[in-house]
């Protein structure tokens, strides 16, 4: 029974890993550089595993989530800057995810885009209102597993496997190193998006983790995110096999779904669209909650879906307001794919403000007792801190120099 539950959690984590940022950056990276950037995905996935394991452990041992740590370790003033930047990026991401939901619904139904935005908003609000936390995670995680169709598509497209293998070895064969660097930063930013750790750690508290659940935490982080990374590989391989050198830029979510239709026909297209629909809907709820979690944790309000709406009124109001703001933003007709690129790059800038406090708290023995970071977690944590700082400093210059990846 226990193993069964662990397996269910892992399945949900795989489906929940991919969001609109991963879809956009993996497929475009494939379309632009073939399989060359696969190694960057590996680095990003190991990074999110290291830090989500850490903040999941903190949540299980202390009952605290990431923004508690941000407030305690950065103090009020710097913490407030971290909170503000997190909210801005979060709202951009939420807007992009909801736009993605509406696009999928449009491709599936043919109804007008603006009506579908409204429908998407209402459905998301109702689902969050009436469904328990566990089931929210499961519904969207399992639905997102339809994305595995991209793994089948990747194989069916018969890529040159030696070239795929070569992609896992860091190398650069291009006339435009800046664009290469821009995509590398985007892939890392998409894999290590801060909202994932806000949500992951708060989710640990929602599910009332205790030190007994540390094994579950480790399994979820390593296997769930690891296999989520496998989906990212598939997306990039599909992008590389199908779009590279054909002058096609997958600028629409629909063209990403084409990646499954070409090798697998109608059923491939349908599974891809349903998979993308569930993945971005789930990510929309994750970002929606992450915004409310961060604010409530920073200010010390009661929070969490496990408290029921009346048990955490300001938390509930916050996600309600965020949802309305994001719906309004999507209604302006902003292009979700473009917005995704900006959101991923800006989130990369703010990465250190999220990850430094996690590393500090996970090392605090008065907090973590015998569960504090071991040597492996610290060595990896420090290496990734260096990576994050480099990403953070180079993200905006690369955004400008490459003209948002258009070169």
């Amino acid at each position: 029974m226990k193993i069964f539950q662990v397996a269910l959690g892992i399945l949900a984590a795989i489906g929940g890993f991919v969001d609109i940022g991963d879809l956009v950056f993996n497929v475009s990276a494939g379309a632009t550089f073939g399989y060359q950037l696969l190694w960057v995905v590996v680095i990003g996935v190991v990074g999110i595993i290291v830090y989500s394991e850490m903040c999941g452990r903190v949540a299980a041992v202390s009952g605290k989530a990431v923004f508690d740590a941000v407030r305690e370790r950065l103090g009020f003033r710097t913490g407030l800057v971290a909170l503000l930047s997190a909210q801005v990026v979060n709202l951009m991401t939420l807007t992009a995810e909801i736009g993605g939901v509406a696009i999928c619904l449009q491709l599936l139904s043919g109804l007008p885009y603006r009506w579908l935005i409204l429908i998407a908003g209402i459905v998301l609000a109702v689902v969050v209102w009436v469904t328990s936390f566990d089931w929210i995670e499961r519904i969207f995680g399992y639905g997102g597993l339809c994305l595995l169709v991209f793994a089948v598509a990747a194989a069916k497209l018969h890529p040159v496997w030696s070239a795929v293998g070569h992609g896992f070895v860091p190398h650069m064969q291009t006339q435009s190193p800046l664009l290469y660097a821009y995509f590398a930063i985007g892939l890392l930013g998409a894999a290590m998006t801060p909202y994932e750790v806000y949500f992951y750690s708060s989710g640990g508290v929602e599910e009332r983790w205790s030190p007994k659940d540390l094994g579950l935490n480790k399994a979820n982080a390593i296997i769930g995110y690891g296999l989520g990374g496998f989906l990212s590989f598939s997306l990039m391989i599909v992008g590389g096999s199908l779009f590279l050198d054909k002058g096609i830029e997958p600028e629409f979510l629909g063209s990403i779904a084409l990646g499954a239709e070409v090798p697998l026909g109608q059923i491939g297209l349908l599974l891809a669209l349903v998979g993308i629909l569930f993945a971005v809907s789930g990510a929309a709820i994750d970002t929606l909650f992450s915004g409310a979690y961060s604010l409530a944790q920073f200010l010390g309000w009661e929070w969490g879906r496990y408290r029921a709406q009346t048990g955490a009124p300001r938390f509930t109001l916050t996600w309600g307001v965020l949802l309305v703001l994001a719906l309004g933003a999507v209604m302006t007709g902003v292009d979700p794919v473009m917005l995704t690129e900006y959101a991923v790059i800006f989130s990369a800038v703010a990465l250190p403000l999220t990850y430094i406090p996690i590393l500090l708290v996970a090392n605090d023995r008065s907090y973590m007792r015998e569960y504090a970071n071991g040597r492996l977690a610290n060595v990896l944590g420090l290496i990734y801190l260096a990576v994050i700082v480099v990403i953070s400093l180079s993200a905006v210059p690369l955004l400008i120099l490459t003209n948002v990846g258009q070169n």
Binding site: L80, G300, P313, R314, S366
Partner: protein, 116 residues
Amino acid sequence: MSDSIDLGLRVVDRQLLDSDERRCGKVDDLALEGGPGEELRVAAILSGPDVWPNRGGLLGRLAAWIGGGGRVRVPWNEVAKVDVQVRLKKRAPELGLGRGDDRLRPLIAKIPDADR
């Protein structure tokens, strides 16, 4: 628990939990007492938007304005225990904490199924 505690690291900015384990604010600041030559003593925990300008400068002032002001003073002898949270002896309303949530609750409760 040792008998000394680093107030800046272990108390300020920590979560306040009332006797029902309800989250009811943060330790935004501490009120210290003691005259010249005397030993300093923690008199109270300060919590609420009116404390933020002292902590967060211009941004803190803006946040306090949005937060609507207000400050609650919780005497230090109402603290039951300091671990990773600051645990209080009484329920939040008795100490004047968590009022934002309490005021909003009746409105949220009007929406069907709000207690699920």
